[in-house]
């Protein structure tokens, strides 16, 4: 049974065409996944179908849902679809749920007001029970874990009885284990309905199966069944995308033996009187990479900060006293947050150069090595992409001739291709300079391919 037919959907900003015409069909029980990086136009496509395009953008084409036709150029008309025929899963459920309303009420109000069903409270309770959320009914969203919030939002979005589910980047910023939860949830959405998913996550796309559309620069460059696209990609971009999956990265060559830089014995960190993780020990030599893995909140960042000397710790932590004072540097998870937001990148570098009397001539070759255009330095951090910012952060650290780099989930906010490139540059430069790296990530595959040794933290 065909649930939705979208024909020649395109998006314009004035005379600029941002998304070239795309057609897709959602069938009962089938998944359609749009795969692409940020800026590929995949989210605009979904918004055009839903009628939620931002001001200034216009959609065109035709949309047929269960026999009724809608015009994406007149998005007001699409409003009747929301909740009743199309369930829209929010990107970040913990922000999308009303923090001041109890969980069950947020589901019940949809039964009541949208579906006009009798006994909304009973139905809502049943929905929650079906998702294993019995305990969440009386709680506020901020009292729930991220996974529970995700399921609650799923229940609320689908309580209106919609057969079609649209999910825009449902795994954005999630840990690997949480990603599996989302996958299970979306599979549930497939039972008795259709699913349109927008993502950059290959694992998710693989798990959902069905049809995959690969988008780049506003155009669908390749489409076909999931099994074929993921195993035998035709288009170069699709191939690059698949190669960028850490699971497909080449295995790391171990470095030559070097003197020890950091040695930890029975080290742990406490926050607000609570010990974060079981004491760990390791020894890290120059040129080596130590991968740290563990669930969120287990103290991965705190351990790294303790090595940097930013946090107090318990146990014994030896750092090579011969290492220069500023030789311990760090890369942050959220690149824009690591720069002063209101001054240009160049200004920040100039201040650093002036402070430590660094030879200015060193900047140009580094820019070149990191494939950065010098014009980037005239911009504010907000005007530069995440991948470029992370490389500028690396450049900033390299000016101080570091012997140690703490990379705290440095690529978790980056697109797959950018992630692959950034990590490659980082490891190459570390090898060139005999720099030790502590690499924190929630992506086990990534850590396997970059680390010489792995350390898994577990909560106390």
């Amino acid at each position: 049974m065909t649930l939705l037919v979208a024909k020649d959907i395109s998006v314009h900003a004035g005379s600029d065409r941002l998304v070239d015409p795309v057609s897709l069909t959602l069938e009962m029980g089938k998944a359609v996944t749009v795969l692409g990086e940020s800026g590929s136009g995949k989210s605009l496509l979904a918004q055009a179908i839903l009628g939620t395009l931002p001001k200034g953008l216009d959609g065109s084409g035709t949309l047929t849902v269960g026999g009724d036709t809608f015009d994406p150029a007149r998005p007001q008309g699409n409003r009747v679809l929301w909740g009743r025929r199309i369930a829209v899963l929010p990107q970040e459920p913990w922000l999308a749920l009303d923090p001041l309303m109890r969980g069950q009420q947020q589901v019940a109000e949809v039964h009541d007001l949208v579906a006009a069903a009798s006994e909304p409270a009973v139905r809502a309770k049943a929905d929650l029970t079906a998702l294993g959320l019995e305990a969440a009914g009386d709680k506020f969203p901020w009292q729930l874990s991220g996974g529970m919030a995700q399921r609650l939002a799923f229940a609320a979005a689908r309580a209106g009885g919609a057969a079609i589910t649209v999910a825009d980047e449902p795994t954005k910023g999630l840990d690997a284990d949480r990603r599996d939860d989302v996958l299970a949830l979306l599979r549930k959405g497939l039972e008795g309905g259709g699913l349109l998913t927008i993502t950059h996550d290959l694992t998710l796309a693989k798990g959902l199966g069905g049809e995959i559309l690969v988008m780049q620069g506003g155009t669908v460059v390749e489409r076909g069944p999931a099994a074929r696209i993921l195993t035998a990609p035709q288009h170069p971009y699709t191939r690059a995308l698949i190669a960028a999956d850490p699971a497909n990265w080449p295995r790391r060559v171990p470095p030559s033996v070097q003197p020890v830089l950091v040695r930890a014995t029975d080290v742990t960190v406490s926050r607000a009187g609570r010990t974060l993780f079981r004491p760990v020990g390791f020894s890290l030599s120059r040129g080596q990479t130590l991968g740290i893995f563990g669930p969120s909140g287990c103290g991965k960042s705190s351990l790294g900060n303790a090595i940097l000397g930013l946090l107090p710790y318990e146990g014994t932590l030896w750092r090579d006293p011969g290492a220069p004072k500023l030789g311990f540097q760090k890369l942050w998870q959220d690149p824009p947050a690591a720069f002063p937001a209101r001054i240009t990148l160049g200004q920040g570098l100039d201040d650093l150069i002036a402070l430590h009397r660094i030879d200015r001539k060193r900047v140009a070759p580094l820019l070149d090595r990191l494939k950065l255009s010098p014009s980037l330095l005239t911009r504010l951090p907000s005007g530069v992409s995440g991948g470029e910012l992370q490389r500028i952060a690396l450049l900033r650290a390299l000016l101080l001739d570091p012997v140690f780099l703490f990379a705290d989930e440095p690529t978790s906010r980056l697109d797959p291709v950018t992630q692959a490139e950034t990590v490659r540059l980082m490891t190459e430069i570390a090898a060139e300079r005999d720099m030790a790296i502590v690499f924190v990530s929630h992506d086990r595959a990534l850590l396997h391919s970059v680390s010489d040794q792995m350390l898994e933290l577990s909560a106390q």
């Binding site: 929301w82 829209v88 929010p90 009303d98 309303m101 109000e109 007001l113």
Partner: protein
């Protein structure tokens, strides 16, 4: 959860801080005041036609003003410990009685103004916030700024001339009946409504642009339902917090309106007390108003905690 206890403990600390600051400031004031206190009090008691050196000396003897500031300070602090604010040096009445009368009148007026402004300001703010950047929003910004910029006495006079003198609908000035509330309360309420419209507008615009609002719409709720069920709930905390602060500013800010409308108020009393060197009145008024501020804040904390159980955001 002992956050409620924490709040109470913090407010108690603040109350103690207020008492201490009032005490120290009064002490400094007594030290630093130029002019002869006995003369000032005599002038306040007997009027400018009668004040003279004999009366001043009599006042000095009666009140023991030769005792020196330290003794008087300790005396007052001692009284405070016994929950006794003392007597007004001018009228001889207990300070507490005068404050109850005058603060009561100010509170009544402030409350009436707040209620009136609530009927005007927040609805406009919600309309503007829902369509942030729109024509109505931009117009409201200018109109609200204008109302805040109109000198209160001018607004008051215009209202008197229009509603009392020309139309004879309401009494021009005075105190005692319900009708007397309308004009001064309206004068205050217009400026206040302008301010609360702005705050509501900002809160509403923030909520309307938030993912929770988009999700509520995506769930299939109509615009009215989204506003009633999610919008109002989420702008509640900042608006209530702001209103509380506004109330405090109002109670002391009504001086101008008080003099225009012949209203017995605390601002008026405070001015008189400072000018007449009625130290117990100054201390008592400052203390009661300060503690009232603390109490009000505590109440707002509790209300906001009910609306938004996540805890008070500053």
């Amino acid at each position: 959860m002992n956050t409620a206890l924490n709040t109470i403990a913090f407010r108690l600390m603040q109350a103690a801080g207020v008492a201490l600051v009032v005490g120290v400031m009064s002490f400094l004031m007594m030290q630093a005041m130029p002019g002869d206190m006995a003369f000032r009090i005599a002038a306040a008691r007997y009027g400018y036609d009668l004040v003279n050196a004999d009366l001043a000396n009599a006042v000095r003897a009666e009140l023991g003003l030769d005792a020196g500031p330290v003794t008087q300070f300790l005396h007052w602090m001692g009284g405070l410990a016994r929950l006794d604010l003392g007597q007004s040096l001018v009228s001889g009445q207990p300070v507490w009685d005068e404050i109850t009368h005058q603060l009561g009148a100010s509170l009544q007026l402030a409350l009436a103004a707040i209620v009136l402004s609530l009927l005007i300001g927040p609805p406009l703010g919600i309309c503007a916030g829902l369509h942030a950047g729109g024509r109505f929003d931009r117009a409201l910004l200018v109109v609200a700024a204008s109302f805040r910029a109109v000198p209160q006495f001018l607004l008051g006079l215009l209202l008197i001339i229009l509603l009392a003198v020309q139309m004879r609908l309401l009494p021009a000035a005075g105190h005692g009946s319900l009708a007397h509330f309308v004009l001064p309360a309206l004068t205050l309420a217009l400026g206040l409504a302008a301010a609360s419209a702005r705050i509501t507008r900002d809160a509403m615009a923030g909520v309307a642009a938030s993912p929770l609002y988009a999700f509520a719409r995506a769930k299939g709720l109509s615009d009215g339902e989204v506003l009633r069920r999610h919008g109002l709930r989420n702008i509640g905390a900042p608006v209530v917090t702001y209103l509380g602060l506004q109330f405090v500013l109002l109670v002391e800010g009504v001086v101008v309106v008080e003099t225009i409308f012949g209203w017995p108020g605390i601002g008026h009393a405070l001015i008189h007390a400072v000018f007449h060197r009625d130290v117990p009145m100054v201390q008592g008024t400052a203390l009661v108003m300060g503690l009232g501020f603390v109490l009000l804040n505590a109440i707002i904390d509790l209300i906001v905690r009910r609306i938004d159980p996540r805890g008070v955001q500053s």
